[in-house]
Subunit: 210 residues, 2 copies
């Protein structure tokens, strides 16, 4: 019985070290960017060793990709849930913006890595990032195309609008990363959602407001 529990303890020790390395790497990468970060910084921050780092990860690149891929998967999943729970353009857009903003707010280091460092990393890093953005464009575009069909907004280049929306959200988060304002970040939810909806010609009617 006690022996069985101790056996279970061993894998979690392993997971603990790996987790420590990843968390430390997130801090180091967010602080210095990928290329200016050295593995020895991660070693120091994690309180482990060079060998331990390379026991769990094949390379510095793999550490980085583990971080961003995990985060991208989390965001994608939460977005999926948000989409399923929302009906109508307002609710859908609110849910999407809220998911993104709250995620960034909760993970400041990852927000920095994903928004600033990831795009500037080499071409071999870009596949997953482009996939995440493409997924987001498709989600937003889906909302907009349906709203056009329902006559809720005028016909337009919904793809361009989706990209513009993503850019707007990203820049608001980048401002927060640089200045700490607004505090908390999710104060921008209502005005930003309003601005995005307005940008595509959506007019909130009195009936819709209720």
């Amino acid at each position: 019985m006690a022996t069985a529990i101790e056996r279970l303890g061993r894998p979690s020790q392993r997971e603990e070290t790996r987790r420590k390395i990843l968390e430390s790497a997130a801090q180091v990468f967010a602080d210095k960017g990928f290329y200016r970060s050295v593995v020895d910084d991660i070693v120091k921050a994690s309180g482990t060793s060079k060998g331990a780092v390379y026991f769990y990860f094949d390379s510095k690149e793999q550490i980085f990709m583990s971080l961003v891929e995990d985060y991208a998967a989390t965001v994608a999943q939460e977005l999926q849930v948000a989409v399923h729970r929302s009906r109508g353009l307002i609710a859908e857009v609110e849910a999407t913006v809220a998911t993104l903003i709250r995620n960034f707010q909760a993970h400041r280091t990852l927000a920095k890595i994903v928004l600033v460092d990831w795009p500037a990393a080499g071409a071999e890093f870009q596949g997953k990032r482009i996939a995440l953005k493409t997924m987001l464009v498709e989600v937003l575009r889906g909302y907009l195309d349906r709203a056009v069909q329902d006559g809720k907004i005028p016909a337009q280049d919904t793809e361009m609008a989706a990209y513009a929306w993503i850019g707007a959200i990203g820049e608001i988060v980048a401002r927060w990363l640089n200045t700490g304002k607004p505090n908390p970040l999710d104060e921008v939810l209502a005005p930003l959602t309003r601005l995005l909806l307005s940008s595509v010609g959506f007019v909130a009617s009195p009936a819709a407001a209720r």
Copy 2:
């Protein structure tokens, strides 16, 4: 006479080499990003030598900053001209967006460097970039504040709107950098301007349309 011409040739020879280095550096940095670019790549691309590069520039950082600062100064100047020539929210926003979009279109490598690589470069590179963005925020915000006062758009957080606009423009350009679409980039001028104006609640009246 011939000797005098040759004398004049010497300074331009010097400018020619420096120009070649800068142009080559722009290509290399845009292709690989700052940190993955090596000075020897710039040497090869410019057809000069290591010695020549360090004759004109103190460091790799200085090459980079020369590029981005020159570009920022150009953009700032063109924006100033555009501002002076425009009256009224529509014209002002059109002029600003057109200046930015056309500048990026004309300098694809610099667009990549400025939008993607510069933000991810180290903290010591960020002063001028933040200044350029701040200047742009002030310009846009100025338009919006005036439009609020004139009752043309509803009262709102004009600073947030300005950042959202900058993000939207940036993402549209980033899409173009990644996909080549739209071709040419300035096809987005009219729809993007419309989207931005709409986002702040500006409704083009029939009288304003004339």
